[in-house]
Symmetry: C2
């Protein structure tokens, strides 16, 4: 933990993936020094806004950390920063990347990312992994990974957004996207390990969702999560080199056959399957131009903006639903388990049970509100 | 409408599919005769409970109609009836049936249903079609369909459960299942046209979800809704007779290949693809024994009860979520569109928008509650 506190300046060294900068101190400074001196460890909103706009990496990292904070005063500053940079946000291609463990996501991201940077793009790499805690097990936590990419001036790598809830992670990631866009990054790769609902989260915030797959036939696909193939805008077979080539081609044929079973997409896009190799560089140029072609085609027909609009409304709705649900669950917690037990045993029917819980919720709300009115 | 009012006794004729029995009168009798005489068009809870238990079809139909009513006094009686018959419910195999229009669902249900009845089962056929209104366009509304089955003493056919909302339809259907089970029906076929979310609804209330498919290769599958194949516990190719047989076999191979791409199921069940023909009777015996085998295997390993428990909790949660959502939407309706517009235009970020709407909701709740306290 102490190491982290001193890392604020390590972005000057090209050898490190940046961690968040504000691991909280062991003692709560507000508590210790209350009413004597207000300790502010971070620049204020104006400095952050200016820093993000200039593409200052230290200030960008601090702004992201601010966004991840759950402290009410931080939330307020974060809202100011976000509102100020919104006009500069949005001008990027957001690319989600998923695949089973072992598919070589980091290696792919490094080689494809380097290719994008060499092509003149500014690249940000984010990660969504709700299951990991910062610094142990985080998918981008291993600093020996993506070493070449992390040395690039025009690449910015940020480990997993933190958050206790799925909604928290989603919010942090979505807001981080806005910040890195405002900082001038025009290509964003968002990696997910595909634990639980993380693919759905990433899929719902990207313009192009890429599924990585190993060379190998049906057997490998068996490990794929249900529904994942249907979310993909493109499938990339990794490690298509040397002895793997024939198997990679069979896998591509299998995947194409499976994709053929899905109904045609509304936006007219045909999901492509491509072979790549991080080792030989095979397929990376084609993949980059595929993405350009996709963006052009979707923008022309209005589907690009459409998808983003739908995603924004989706996240608004998600945030509302999550709030309502959490408030309900907290409020009825004491009785919920008992009533759910009766439903499980078949003693009462689920709709009756729901009505009882809702009634209870209304009673609690009423007493909560009249208590606060009397206070 | 007048015709419907007089149909109460037509179940004595074997030629008709029974409609609901209590289409409401054109005038509200409670309003007209208020404080003079209370008109009750229906038997009371005790009579309904007794009737359902005895398997009396008129009273069963009346109980189902009661369940579909949204009038508060009916809801109360319905809750009493359901609570009383719960102990007798549950002892059936609930089978969901879906497939694209033209696949021959009615013909399949009639021939398979007759086979089940001949095998000594008591069969109830229900339907979920949220898009249809009673008596026009209802999928079981056409009385010339399932004519043979509707003549059977041991078959009970009930048209689409009505309900303005998806949740309403779900609730009515789920509760109808409990009633027909309590009335002694031990095989329940629940047909859905597969409009919108209706498959998800049906899938979430059955023990076995059957997807009907036409003989024909990939082209036909293209019309299949996304995700539907993954929900199936079994796939049945219809019309596998005469010249269709070779194409049916190709379709089966295609489907098997596609199924092979899905990960193995937790319950160990391998989704089968079977050929049937309503015309020749091909495959119906095998299908019935497949269902027996499935039930036995799932019961033995505890997955049968597990699935029902999970479904019950799912519906409890659904009912709660729907209530919360509706209450929220109603309450913030006046400002919602404006704020959503800002999200769509990118002026504010979706999480910020959600917070504003939630704040508004709390204010409205507070004033709603203090108004009712002052009243």
């Amino acid at each position: 933990m102490k190491d982290d506190l001193d890392q604020e300046k390590t972005d000057e060294s090209a050898l490190h993936v940046m961690d968040g900068v504000d691991a909280p101190p062991a003692l709560n400074p507000d508590l210790t020094f209350r009413s004597r001196v207000k300790i502010r460890r971070r620049p204020d909103a104006a400095a952050l806004i200016d820093g993000v706009r200039r593409g200052d990496r230290v200030l960008l990292s601090q702004a992201i950390t601010l966004i991840e904070s759950e402290r009410p005063e931080d939330r307020e500053t974060a809202a100011q920063v976000l509102e100020a940079v919104m006009p500069e946000a949005g001008r990027s291609l957001r690319i989600g990347i998923t695949g089973v463990p072992g598919v070589g996501k980091s290696t792919f991201i490094e080689s494809f990312g380097l290719h994008l940077v060499e092509g003149g793009h500014k690249l940000a790499v984010l990660a969504v992994d709700p299951s990991s805690e910062r610094s142990h097990g985080s998918i981008l936590g291993d600093k020996t990974r993506m070493e070449l990419l992390s040395r690039e001036r025009n690449a910015y790598i940020r480990p997993t957004a933190s958050g206790a809830t799925l909604g928290g992670v989603a919010r942090h990631t979505r807001e981080t996207i806005l910040l890195v866009e405002a900082a001038g990054f025009d290509r964003i790769l968002i990696e997910t390990v595909g634990v639980g609902q993380s693919e759905v989260i990433v899929h719902s915030m990207v313009d192009f969702f890429m599924l990585l797959s190993l060379p190998g036939a049906g057997d490998e696909l068996q490990g794929m999560k249900r529904g994942i193939m249907e979310m993909a805008d493109g499938i990339v077979i990794t490690k298509a080199d040397g002895d793997n080539i024939p198997r990679a081609k069979i896998a591509a044929a299998d995947l194409n056959r499976a994709l053929h079973l899905f109904p045609a997409r509304e936006d007219g896009w045909t999901v492509p399957v491509r072979l790549t190799s991080a080792m030989t560089g095979e397929g990376l140029v084609e993949l980059a131009s595929l993405l350009e072609g996709y963006t052009e085609q979707m923008t022309e027909k209005g589907f690009f903006a459409d998808r983003r609009r739908r995603q924004a409304l989706f996240w608004m709705q998600q945030a509302i639903d999550e709030h309502l649900k959490q408030d309900f669950e907290r409020t009825v917690a004491a009785r919920r388990e008992e009533i759910a037990g009766h439903v499980e045993s078949g003693a009462i029917n689920p709709f009756e049970a729901a009505e009882r819980l809702i009634e209870l919720y209304h009673e609690e709300l009423r007493s909560r509100i009249s208590n606060s009115d009397n206070a």
